[in-house]
Symmetry: C2
Subunit: 116 residues, 2 copies
DNA sequence: GAAGTAAGTTACAAAAAGTAACCTTTCCAG
DNA sequence: CTGGAAAGGTTACTTTTTGTAACTTACTTC
C-alpha cells in the first residue's frame, strides 16, 4: 500500500470541486450577491446599494447568470410601477454556509490587519 | 427599537468582509492554489500539473500575489539544479476551513448535476 | 550534442470588467 | 402640465485581466 500517493489524488479531487464552484460563482460580485440574498429578498436597486461598488451593467449580468444556474429567482411583481424582486432559491441557500465561512475569515483578517 | 433595520446593517458587514476576502483571493486560481498548498508543499511544476488549466504566466503571477499577502512562502532550495518550493504560511493555513467548505459544496453540486 | 525538466518571462490576442450616458415608465412637486 | 427623480435596466466605449505560445537559462540524462 503506497500511502504516499494518496494525497495527490485527494488534492486533485478537491481542486476539481473548487473549480466547479468557481465556474458558477466566478467574478468578484456573485458571492456578495448570494450573501445578500441569503439574507433577504432584494430588489435590483437595493442590491445596487448594498453590494458596494457594483455597476448596473455588472449587477444585471451577474443576476442573469445566477438565475441561469438556478441559485436565484427573478420575480416581477405587478405593482405600480413594477418592482423586481430577486430571491434566493432553496438550492442557492445551500451556499449560506459557504458565504458565512468566507465572511468569517474576512472579519478575522480585518481584525488582524487593523488590530496590529 | 427598530429591529427591521438591523438586517441591512448585518448584511453590509458581511458583504464588506466578503469583499475583503475576494480582494486577496481574486481570480479563479488563487483558491485552488491555496487548497493545494494546504495539502502539502509543492514545487512550481507540481502546481502547474495539479491546478488543471493554469498557465505558467498565471501561476507565477498568482504565487507572487499570494506571497505578498503572506499566505504562502517561496523557498529556493540549493539543490542541483535549484528547486523552488511553495509552502503555506501559518496564516495561510487559516484558509483551510474556507477551501474545504467550498470544495464540499462543489462535491455536492457535482452529485446533484450528474446524479439526476 | 540533442532532448528534456525546472522555473520562469515576454509579446501579442482575447475575454471580462469598469465607466458613463441613455432609455422607458411612473410618481410626485410646483 | 412640466420637470425631476426613481426603478430597472441596456448600449457604446475603455481599461484591466487572462489566455496562448514561444523563448530563456541552467542543469541532466541518452
Amino acid at each position: 500500500m503506497k500511502t504516499e500517493i494518496e494525497p495527490i489524488k485527494e488534492c486533485s479531487h478537491t481542486i476539481l470541486a473548487i473549480h466547479d464552484v468557481m465556474d458558477i460563482l466566478n467574478g468578484k460580485w456573485k458571492i456578495s450577491i448570494i450573501a445578500c440574498l441569503c439574507y433577504k429578498k432584494m430588489r435590483y436597486s437595493e442590491l445596487l446599494r448594498e453590494v458596494k461598488g457594483i455597476s448596473g451593467r455588472m449587477l444585471s449580468r451577474e443576476l442573469k447568470e445566477l438565475e441561469m444556474n438556478q441559485l436565484i429567482i427573478r420575480n416581477v411583481l405587478d405593482t405600480q410601477p413594477v418592482t423586481v424582486e430577486y430571491e434566493i432559491t432553496e438550492y442557492g441557500s445551500t451556499l449560506k454556509n459557504l458565504t458565512n465561512t468566507i465572511a468569517e475569515w474576512g472579519i478575522k483578517h480585518r481584525k488582524r490587519i487593523i488590530g496590529k
